[in-house]
Structures are given as structure tokens and as C-alpha cells.
Symmetry: C5
Subunit: 253 residues, 5 copies
């Protein structure tokens, strides 16, 4: 589980609502109709902007922002260096026997392409294409939260203008002025909440997760090509460790 997402969103809500609850004025800030207008409006506009299947995917995409098992890059590097040593000693075909021990499907596919005797250009081509299309799918998920982050405040503002107009038309009743304007402002607040406590954090998180995943896939591709070209395993390690921060490196530089 990505504790940062859960904790971050929880604390962000707590920072805004904590003082309100402490002052016992929470009911001033809860208006079911206003919530409905802003959230339904923003989600509907997002639906109009994407396709039904994008919308359905959004839920499984969102899981990536909450649940991810951390990947141990050092272990991947170690196992690729092992594969490299094996390939150097016994030839690339020997990796066929190792397939069962590779659990990352991306690495499996790349090694399989190598074992099948494909040229390095083909391996690079296919796997880089795989990465490009993965990035594209990730971008769609991220851009849907960006849409929500933009529609949220927009529908909040539109609803506030609706409320202001109603209030201004009833200006002869000054007793209601304050309450009317307060109610109008609540949708602005909800719009900001949807954007800054939910949609922008999730959009940024999805982008961050995508970068981390793509970095690892690029590293694996780099590694398979290095093995395929018969690099000295030490060189393979050097190449792969450029993908991780210096403190995680085991190589001698």
C-alpha cells in the first residue's frame, strides 16, 4: 500500500476540517446539494472528455496510486548480472532454462525475444514500443485526474456565480445576504478541495509511479541488450547502476 497517498490525503483533509470540527461549525460547511453540483458536474465533464472505457479504467488506474508493491532495483540488477554471467559462459540459449525463475513479465518477454534469436534491433524495437504504449496508457489516467482538477474549481466557481446571482436578486432582504453569499462560496471550497486534496495529488502520484515503473523497464531493456551483446557482466552492472541513485550501487564506482 502506498502509505504516502493515504496519509497525505488524510492529513490534508484534517488540516482543513480539523479546525472547523474543533470549533463545532462543521454543519456550515456541509451542503449536500453543493457537493452534488460540484462533484457530479466535474465528473460528468470528465466523462464527456474521455470514453466510457477510459472512465471504467480510471478505477483500476487509481489503484496504482494507492497500492503498489515496492520494487527492489538492486535485486533486479543482481539477477540480470547473474543472467549475463550465465549467458557469457554457456551462450544466450542457456537462458531458456532460466525463464522459470524470472517473474517480471517484461523481463521475461525481453529475454524470450533474445533466446528466440531475434536481432538486438528487434528486441529494442518491440520492447521500447511496449514501454511507449505503457506510458501512453499511464498518461490517459493521469490526464483524467488533471481534467477533474480543472473541472472541479470551474464547476465550483460556476455554482458560486449561480449562488451570487440568486443572492443579488434578493438583495432587498439583507438578513439573508451573508448566508446566501456563504452558501455560494461553499461550492468554490468544494471545487478547490476536489482539485487540491484529491485530483492533483492523484494525478501527480500516477505520473510519479509511471516514471518509476518506466525507469525500471528501461533498465531491464538496457540490461537484456547488454547481455545479448555479450558484455562483460561488470560492464552490465555498470550500465544498469546508472539507473539507480549512487547510494544503491554495489559496483566499484
Amino acid at each position: 500500500m502506498d502509505i504516502a497517498t493515504v496519509l497525505g490525503i488524510f492529513i490534508a483533509f484534517a488540516a482543513l476540517f480539523g479546525p472547523i470540527i474543533a470549533q463545532g461549525t462543521l454543519e456550515l460547511y456541509i451542503d449536500a446539494l453543493s457537493i452534488l453540483i460540484v462533484f457530479v458536474g466535474a465528473f460528468a465533464a470528465t466523462l464527456a472528455s474521455y470514453t466510457l472505457s477510459d472512465m471504467i479504467n480510471l478505477f483500476s488506474v487509481t489503484k496504482n496510486a494507492f497500492f503498489t508493491k515496492p520494487v527492489d532495483e538492486s535485486r533486479i540488477i543482481d539477477s540480470m548480472v547473474d543472467l549475463g554471467e550465465k549467458a557469457r559462459r554457456e551462450g544466450i540459449l542457456a537462458l531458456e532454462r532460466e525463464m522459470g525463475r524470472i517473474d517480471d513479465p517484461f523481463m521475461k518477454k525481453a529475454v524470450q525475444l533474445a533466446v528466440d534469436g531475434n536481432e538486438p534491433e528487434v528486441i529494442e524495437n518491440v520492447m521500447a514500443n511496449e514501454i511507449d504504449n505503457l506510458v501512453e496508457r499511464h498518461k490517459t489516467g493521469k490526464s483524467m485526474y488533471d481534467a477533474l482538477a480543472s473541472y472541479g474549481p470551474a464547476y465550483g466557481m460556476a455554482a458560486t456565480v449561480i449562488g451570487l446571482i440568486a443572492m443579488l436578486e434578493a438583495l432587498d432582504d439583507p438578513a439573508n445576504l451573508g448566508a446566501g453569499m456563504a452558501l455560494a462560496l461553499i461550492t468554490t471550497f468544494y471545487g478547490s478541495l476536489l482539485a487540491n486534496a484529491i485530483a492533483i495529488p492523484l494525478s501527480t502520484k500516477l505520473e510519479r509511479r509511471s516514471k518509476i515503473e518506466v525507469n525500471i523497464k528501461n533498465m531491464i531493456l538496457f540490461g537484456v541488450l547488454s547481455i545479448h551483446s555479450g558484455d562483460n557482466p561488470r560492464v552490465t552492472r555498470d550500465k544498469l547502476e546508472t539507473f539507480v541513485a549512487p547510494k544503491f550501487r554495489k559496483g566499484n564506482n
Copy 2:
């Protein structure tokens, strides 16, 4: 029909106007002159920004946001793998006899170029150029809705300023103050509506549709080049399936 576009725009309008209608104050929010100013102003500025023929095209482009027959990518992949098997068994020229069974015009053109004995560079060159120019035409449509999305609120705001000036000049008549300001704000509301319930959703939808269409065209081009180079049909499938999400793949990885 793209149900998401229709449903999304309908719900977005409902979210904003539903409560108004329920409260029976709809007439406060309908002002024919204000609608005219904002919508005519924004469309006129868009017309000035583009050409007459862009403007005429806009209607047929807009259809893409409402009507699209979904494309079955798996079926395209299957049929390309079939072509690949045929080409491998009987030679690339044998595809001439298959031309009648290809209904996608883009695939037809690419296969024709291959059958005509063109070099792969020529095929890639011509078809990639075709895609680039398609993207360019799509971008023009999208950018026109972007223009509307920016001119809408701008003309709404300008009209609000016009209304505020009229109201301020008549400040000695406080009875009208509220109504004057309410009227002034209505154009801001219309501008936001044009942008957030119509133009931005359509712009985003057109961009999304363009990406989906271009992805398929790139996949087809990739496939024809793979067939042309004599790839094993299994490799062709591997290459093509990088263009679709893992759950839609039939290949063994």
C-alpha cells in the same frame, strides 16, 4: 454513438441547472441578450482566428466527438497476422488477392504500397507522412474548441465589465444595484458554461479520439512493415500487441 459525450454534457448541464429548475428560478438565469453576446462574441473571435473552411470543417470534425464506431484492435491484429502467414507462405505478392477483404483504407494503402514492390523506407515514409498530416488536421479541430474555451470566459468577463460599468453609473438608484450586478454576472456564467460544459470537453474528446485513431494507424503501419520484412507471424503478433493493453493480448506473453 459516443454515449460518454452525450451523457457527460447532459449530466454536466443537469448538475448546474437541475437545482435552479427545482427552485423555480430558472428565469433568473436565462437572458437572451447575454447568451447572444457571449456565444456570438466567442464564435466570431474563433472565426477571426481560423479560416472559413476550418469553420465549415468544424461541424464534421465535431461529429467525431459524438459518433464513432469502436474499432476492434484484436480483430485488426488477427487479420494482420493472417496476412503475414499468407505472405510468408506465398510471397508478398500473394497479398494482392487479399486486397478486397481489407476494408480499412489505411491498411489497404499500406499493403498496396508493399505489393507494388516499394522499399520499406518508402512505405514507412508515405504512411508516416499520412499519419502526421492526419494528426495536424485533428489538431486544428481541437485547437478551435480550445479557442472557444478561451474566448467564452473572456467575452463573458468583458460583458460582465460592461454590465458593471452600467450598474455603477446608476449607483444612485440602489434598488437596481442587485439586479444590475446579477445581470452582469450572468455573462460570466455563460462564458464558463461554454468553456467547461461544451468546448473543453469536446476539445479533450477530439484529442482522445485522435490518439486512439493514430495508435491504431501506427499499429497497422508497424504490422505491414513487419509482414514486409518477412517476420515470423508470431513476432508480428508480439510487435502488434505492444500497442494494446496486456488484457487484450492473445500472444503467449
Copy 3:
């Protein structure tokens, strides 16, 4: 003449000023000093941002937004296919005799380079450089209108703040309050007008015109290179028609 530019700007002004004139309150919205501040300020800031000769060029650049003779892309393709047939039959040097019938200076230069016996790399290099530098010059014109579009509202807003300060200092005279604030707001209105009814439409139009012109130049370059490489005229047509929308194509795909 580009009727869209003239009509668009005219209607945009009409949408904003029509209702004002109809209500007979035009004099509330005309303030010579305010016009001076906003327009002179925005133009001066644009002058400071560019060079004197950019400023002088702006007028001839602006003509492109108002006057353009439409180019018939089909005719260009036809004439290039003709040249291609001639070159295939009689050799590339035979095009020397056709030079007089080519009136597009860009096509003339490209064909001349081919006739002079230059390598395709040289032709591509020189002509692509020509296009790049044309794009660069177009961009300067466009960016000057972008500058106006940003300085307009900025100087309008700055003048409004000046007016508000004057009004606030005279707050003890409530009779003037409304009129003072109305006057202050007028510059905001002018700034928006300069941006949304003049500068942004012209900037977008110039960009659009540039894209259309560059697309044609790229098509011509593509065509000359195709002719030079001895392509079958049918292939030349196929290549060139990727630059135009499907409905304008004569080729059999």
C-alpha cells in the same frame, strides 16, 4: 481577402458594442484617455520587447492575416506529377525548359537545385533550412501579437488599479464613487478588447496561415525529392496526397 478575419473581428465588436449602442449608452464606454493609456502602453511594451525593424515588419506581417490568395493544392500536385513524368521520360535536366512555367518561387528554387545537379541531401538541406527560417520569421510576427494580447489586459488592469486608488482617496465623496469605479473599470474592458477581439485572433490566424503555407512548402519539397529520386509519378502523387485531406485526393487510394 481573408473574409474570416474581417467578419470575425467585426462581429466580435458588434456582439459587445451592439447592445450598448442599442441602449444609447455608448458614451459611458468611450473614454479617450483610457483608450490612450491601454493601447499606447501595450504597444510601447511590445516595442520594448522587440526591435524597431520587427515593429515595422508587423504591419506587412499583419497583411497576411487579412489578405491571402488561397492556394490550390490539387493544382500544385498535378503540376508536380507532370514534372515527374517529364523528368522520368526525358531526364531531370529536361526540367530546365519547364522553369518558366513554374510560378511558385519556392518550387522554382527547389527544381533549379535539382536541375543544377545537386545531391538530394543538398536540396533537402537548403530547402528545409529555407522553411525553418520562414517558420522562425512567422513566429516572430505571431509572438508580437501574443505580447500585445498579454500587455493589453495587463495595462488595462494597471490603469484600473490607478483609477481605484484615485477613487478610494476620494471616498468621502460618495456621489463620485460609482462613476469613479466605472471609469476605472473601462481600462479593464479596453485591455480585454485589445486581447480578445484583436491580438489573440490575429496571433492565431497568423499561426494558422503559417502552418498552411509551411505544409504546402513541405509538400513541394517532398515532391521535388520524389521526382529527383526517379519515383514513378503514381508514387509521387501518393506521397504528395498525404499532405491534403482525403476528400481532395485524386489518386486511387
Copy 4:
């Protein structure tokens, strides 16, 4: 001297302050403390954003926005065509004797590299790198003015909020209300002034100057490579004249 910068900034200030001075209310708009807050705040934030030596360089960079000797591109082309003729007649080494007559240091360095017998790849590599690094240095200067243009209004706004808070706390003294709010707004005005009359124009001017300078350097590099490859001087002229607008060309196309 770049008269456009001086004149533009002067007129921009005149457009805003002229009417104020004419009305004899200048003292309403001059508040030393407010000037200090906005300008010192914005410069301090810019200092924190860059390095001490960037800050010191800023003054010499700024000179580029005010003082530039115009470069005569036609003369550069002529002199390069001359060099090309000499090199064609007497060999590239003959250019050694021309070195004293070349005063542009960039051209000198490029010709020297050619005379020293370096491969064209080396010349292109070194000189293109020179240009890249020049662009990078230019960008730093420009981005510092962009920072000022963003911090100016930000500190103006922050100071306005400070002023509003002070005013609101003293709301029981309505006599001061107007004056307090007027004073608060002055910093917004200064922030806008710093951005729109100084920082954005200088940023844009520096970018424009950079483009002009880089265009000439690219032209010179293109020319030296053309000479080095033994191009016909007429071809060299054709290549070089793609860098200037058609009206400045002497070649026959």
C-alpha cells in the same frame, strides 16, 4: 543603442504616469516603503533563485537589451562567399592568410578549425556546442527577468494583502478605510509595473536578441561547412541566404 527598448519603456511609463502627473495627483502613487517592499522582495527572491554570479552577470546581460550594434547579414554572406571563392581557387589552407581580415570571433574560430585540417564533423561538433552553450547562457539571463516578472506581482499582491489586513483590523475608523485600501493597492500597481513595464519587456528582448545572434552564428557555421566541403560559391550563397528574409537576398532565387 537599442532605441526600441529605451523608447518602449519610456512610453509605457509615460502612458501610465502621464495622466497622473497631468492631474497633479502623483503623490498618491508614490510610496517609498511600498516601492521598497515590492522591488526588494522581488529582487531578493530572484537572488535566492539563482547564484551570486548569475546576479552579477545580470547587469552585463541587461546591456544586451539596451546596446547592440546591428549586424549586417548581407556583408557576412558576401565575405563568406569571398572566402569560398578563395578556398576553391587556392585550397582551404589559403584561408590562413585571410584570418586577419575576419573580425567576427565566431567565424574566426570556425575558419581556424577548418584551416587546421579538422574533419567537418569536428568543426560542426565544436561550433554547434559553442552555440548550444551560448544559448544556455542567454536563457539564464532571460529566465532571471522571467523570475522578476513573476515575483513582482506576487510580492505586490502579498503586500496588498498585508495592507488589507491592517485596514480591516482598523475598520471601526471608516475615515481611514479609503486611504488604507488605496495604500494597500499601490503595491499591486508597483508589482504590475515591475513585471509589465520592465521585466517582461527585457526578458522578451533578451530572447529576441539571442535568436538573432544565434541565427547569424548558425548561418556562419553553415557557411564554413559549405566552404569546407568545396561547394560552388553560388551554392554557398544559396544556402546562406535561406537564413535571411527574401528581400535581403542577392542570389538569383
Copy 5:
């Protein structure tokens, strides 16, 4: 220590708070709860946007904005030219003996790869990858401050809306009006402070530091490749000095 960061942030705070302290009204601008809402909200949203380990890294990344030992580029160039002379006289393997005297780990790794007999493509590949991944890690740090710079004002504004709603609901008590609105505005002020006096300067500084560091690494890589290709040391110096401003060059051009 990066005196510009410390000094800049200190002066920026002094510019805003100096006048407040001088007027003895500091207590109007300090509200613990408001500080908590804005800072905790913005940090929590940033936490949700990134990962726990990004958040932990942020502190060590921030050090780069405050502490950096300036790098003497001239000395690096001199030492690389020395290495180049040695390699030319005694062969590239002779650099093995120099390894102890190289203290920059990046240069050490590049020279080691050269000494180990790797092809220049491998050296470039590995080291350029190292730079790319360094840039990527730098970007994450910078983007976290960008997130703070955007969440700061957003949470400040959201809290202001919360405060306004509370104030408007209590509109019947005009005595509290001013104080309530003042309190509401304080969070806007804090949000602006977090963005403009802390987060944006640090983000820009980190980006600037990254560029400087990457420029030096690119220079070193360029130098090692030049040495490896057996360039004349004078050419090596020419190549390397393109990375520094002209005034820091020792070469004769």
C-alpha cells in the same frame, strides 16, 4: 554555502515583515492555526503526490540549494588537457596511473571505462545514461517544490474561503466583520509566502544547480571522448572551452 539562497530568502522575508515589525503590528500577522492549516495542508498534499522515500530525500535534496562547493571549471579543463597530453604521449592505458589523482567520481568512472578498453559508444552510452538519470532525480526534487509552490496558495485560498464563510454567517455582528475577514486573509498571505519566499526560489535554485552540475558532467564526458579519440590536446581544450563563458577561456580563441 550558497550565500545567495540564504541572503535572498532572508531579505525577502525582511522586505515583507520589516515594515510590519517597525509598525509594531506583528501580532496581527501571526496566527498559529492559520500557519498550521496552510503549511500542513500543502505538505500533506505534496506527500500524497510523491512517495515516502521522495519525501525523505527532499531534505538531502534541499541541502543542494543551501550548500554547494563551487566547481572551478578551468581547473577541470586544465586537468583534462593534462590527461590528454599524457594519453597522447604514453597511450590511453597510461591514464591508469593517474586514477588516484582524479577526485571527481564522474570523471574517474569515465576514464576508468576508457582505460578498460571500452568502445567510445559504450563510454558515451553509459555516462550519458548516468547524466540522464541524474537529471531525472534532480527533476523530482525540483518538482516537489513546484508542488509546494502550487499547494501553498491553494490551501491558503481554501482556508480563506473557510474563513469568509464563517464571517458571512456571522454578518449580523458587524463588529467582528473586519477582524474576521482579516483573519481569513492571513492564510492567503501565508500561502503566498510559502510559494514566493520559499518554494519557488528553492525550486528554481535546484534547477539552476542541476544545470550547472550537468553542464560540467557533459563537459567531462566530452573531454574523455576527445582524449579517447586521440585528439590533439589543443583541440581538446577548444572543445571543452565551448562549455564555459568566453571570459573563462585560456585557449587562443
